[in-house]
């Protein structure tokens, strides 16, 4: 019964979003409409949430009369994986997508009370249009509420690789980011339709950009760490088309974050900012298309069905094509904004945008080129890691070199020489740290020390800004600390985010360049040494899990600093599907990790063991956490709170 209610709620949500979209887009000038659309947005959220809850309920009670539950769940799965199984498949993940979309719509309705009425109506109407399209897509091509009769006694199983806590965290975070950019898109559409494109618009849209960007950062980082520990060969980024699909909106969103800053503060870059807002969500849609249409094969593609692909492609064409037509029609009417010299904060941010846009194009072309070449010419080529590492690295290096200068430069006209002087300390420290690492690692000539230099430079450069603004070394220490903690949160968040980039770069370089690897066969009792860690194989045990059986290898690891840890590496076979997976044993020492993976037992009773020592690998994700944390910090800042701040007069009246 609850399944039918959920189904009905989704149909109702589809109807409401369709009506909201049509009425809102036609009559947006009527002020009275805004209130109705706000209620409509909240109602869409309530209805989709109800239908999602119905789906979760069916999975939790293992109601296998629901086709989706039968295909992707099993009664023996632990509760958490019964719940996550809801979105561990195509239909359910589309519903999650729609749920997050309507959450965003409801949030705009709730926080956007101070927006001009016509703008609010338009934003909610466009948001409803997207919701209508994707609710319709879910209902008509990917309906999660189909029943089976007679109901099977037991369900098949969720893909064992997905039976992991990562599935509980990664897709919701990623979708919050992906879909969050729909708000920026809706704002851009509203601006183009109403012609209201000014600094205030940038102020309204920036918190949404920042919020989405934070979630996307977390989602990508989480996905990367999940792949790292689950897929079992210790890689953390593969330039897989699906990873690229999430990375492109991130790059474009990062550019948008910075260009909206220029638009807000200086009323410049308006056309470009609107363009980026459209592009960012378009890339999110493209990602959805690539993952959900089945034109790519990957662990993310749950089912491939050509009709779905064609429908998503049509939606893609509708939204992106429509948006750009409107853009082309309206962009010429925009006036050019504030003036600035090439050497200025604005100039630096434009450079940032130029490089980020180029990086986005590089990833986009690398991802789509093999598909297009195959479709158009029939030649199959691969574009893999070496290509991306080269092109992306070449584009990123100059961006990272100039990055620390940006926050130091003044708006309108900056003094490059003065800034260079203020950054001299950071440059010196970075050089010293890089040379030290170079010497400590044996002085082997490679690109790695240069990469480290870049990472240290960005990290110290970010700190230098705080040090400089607090006037350390120029006044007494107490005053400096007072100044430091009195700095606006935006200054802190800029510094922390940029510092995080440096940290990630250092982690990437160190883990790639100085990783140690050992492949060997071991019998119980045998020991090996890797990176001064003594690893002893204690033997195998047979363990029965809730829905799998596992051959668990027990290892004792003696760290050079003393202390023994037991690490368990598993080879599992899942009962329902018979699918095997491996679970690596990962032990963290400081920022570094020791990664042990168990291979197939050999005929002679030996076990193949693969060990990696990955120095400073956790910095990769710590840096991402810093970036996202900095974003949330900035969001908590009063002037950047979601929605528009109340005018002072209204606030005074209320008090």
């Amino acid at each position: 019964m609850s399944i039918e209610l959920g189904h009905f709620a989704l149909v109702l949500a589809f109807a409401i979003s369709t009506i909201s979209a049509i009425v809102g887009l036609i009559f947006w000038k009527r002020e009275v409409l805004a209130g109705y659309l706000q209620q409509g947005a909240v109602l869409q959220f309530v209805l989709v949430a109800a239908s999602f809850a119905a789906l979760i309920q069916a999975f939790v009670v293992s109601d296998f009369s629901l086709k989706l539950a039968y295909e992707h769940a099993n009664s023996a799965q632990p509760l958490i994986f019964k719940i996550t199984a809801v979105w561990g498949n195509h239909e359910g993940s589309m519903l999650l997508w729609v749920l997050i979309l309507v959450i965003m719509g409801a949030a705009v309705a709730a926080f956007g009370r101070n927006l001009p009425k016509d703008l609010l109506t338009l934003v909610l109407a466009v948001q409803s249009l997207i919701a209508a399209a994707f609710t319709g897509f879910t209902l008509f091509t990917s309906n999660p509420f189909l029943r089976l009769s007679p109901a099977p006694f037991e369900g098949q199983d969720l893909n064992p690789i997905l039976q992991d806590i990562g599935l509980a965290i990664h897709p919701p975070l990623l979708y919050l980011g992906y879909v969050g950019f729909s708000v920026c898109f809706s704002f851009a559409m509203a601006a183009l339709i109403s012609g209201r494109i000014d600094a205030a618009w940038a102020r309204w849209v920036r918190p949404w950009t920042l919020l989405s960007w934070c979630f996307l950062t977390l989602g990508i980082a989480m996905g990367s760490y999940w792949a790292y520990y689950e897929l079992g060969w210790g890689g953390w980024w593969f330039w897989d088309p699906v990873e690229n699909a999430s990375f492109m909106p991130w790059l474009a969103g990062t550019a948008l974050l910075h260009s909206a800053l220029v638009m807000e503060k200086r009323n410049a870059l308006k056309i470009w900012t609107i363009f980026l807002a459209i592009i960012t969500f378009s890339l999110s849609l493209l990602g959805t298309f690539m993952v959900r249409s089945g034109i790519l094969t990957s662990v993310h593609t749950f089912a491939s069905d050509p009709t779905r692909g064609m429908v998503i492609l049509a939606l893609l064409a509708l939204f992106i094509g429509g948006a750009f037509s409107l853009f082309a029609f309206r962009a010429s009417t925009l006036r050019v904004g504030g003036l600035f010299a090439p050497i200025s904060r604005e100039g630096a941010l434009i450079l940032n945008n130029l490089f980020l846009a180029t990086a986005t194009v590089a990833v986009l072309v690398g991802t789509l080129y093999p598909l297009l070449l195959d479709a158009l010419v029939g030649e199959t080529i691969s574009v893999g890691e070496p290509f991306f590492n080269l092109t992306f690295g070449v584009i990123m290096a100059p961006l990272l070199i100039v990055l620390p200068f940006g926050p130091f430069l003044a708006w309108k006209r900056g003094d490059l020489i003065a800034v260079t002087q203020r950054l001299a300390g950071a440059a010196g420290l970075a050089l010293f740290a890089a040379v030290l690492c170079f010497a400590l690692t044996g002085g082997e000539v490679s690109l790695a020390p240069l990469g480290l230099l870049l990472g240290f430079w960005v990290a110290f450069g970010a700190l230098a800004e705080l040090v400089d603004r607090a006037k350390f070394f120029r006044t007494d220490v107490v005053t400096s600390f007072k100044r430091l903690f009195g700095l606006p949160r935006t200054a802190w968040s800029t510094a922390i985010a940029h510092f995080g980039i440096g940290v990630t770069v250092i982690g990437v370089v160190a883990a790639s360049a100085w990783q140690q690897e050992l492949v060997t066969t071991m019998v119980p009792g045998e020991g090996v040494v890797i990176a001064e860690h003594q690893v002893t194989f204690d033997g195998m045990e047979h363990v029965e899990g809730p829905n799998f059986v596992s051959d668990t290898g027990r290892f004792a690891i003696r760290a050079p600093g003393g202390g023994v840890r037991t690490a368990l590496a598993e080879r599992r076979v899942y009962n329902a599907s018979g699918q095997p997976t491996t679970e690596a044993a990962i032990e963290t020492y400081g920022f570094s990790q020791l990664y042990v993976q168990l291979g197939e037992p050999q005929a002679d009773g030996k076990s193949v063991v693969r060990l990696w020592y990955k120095p400073y690998v956790t910095l990769i994700w710590l840096g991402c956490l810093m970036m996202a944390g900095a974003g949330f910090l900035s969001l908590s800042y009063r002037r950047l709170r979601v929605g528009a701040p109340r005018p002072a007069s209204a606030r005074a009246a209320a008090e």
């Binding site: 593969f238 094969t297 050019v336 130029l354 893999g384 092109t391």
Partner: protein, 148 residues
Amino acid sequence: MRALVALILLVLLSAPALAVRPDEVLADPVLETRARAISEGLRCLVCQNQSIDDSDADLAHDLRVLVRERLTAGDSDQQVRDYLVARYGEYVLLNPVMAPHTVLLWIAAPAVLVIGGIVVFIGARRKRAAGQTALTDDEAKALEELER
């Protein structure tokens, strides 16, 4: 073709083993290092975007052994790659070659950077020539309200 499909299915269905097995490793460390470097740039043809160095598939194992055989036989790195391309097509190379059909792939990003740079440059000059256009009074007032 049918045989190929059957082979792919067979490989996909077989249980995962490990990438680089101990018995594959060459005794000569110089040759082994070269083999690893080459392997990292070769695609496992039945996997999802993995190099043969990373993959556990049996086909990847066969290719790793093949690479090592060719190296032991005295091939240069490029000869090994050419040999594999001749057998499996360009699809096997993770780093695409520079050729007429990949020119767009390679020049797209640099072209965007150059064109973007020119646009920015011209835009900046034109803007300076056009003179100051500040906020209108209404806009300035609205912004001021917000900033308060």
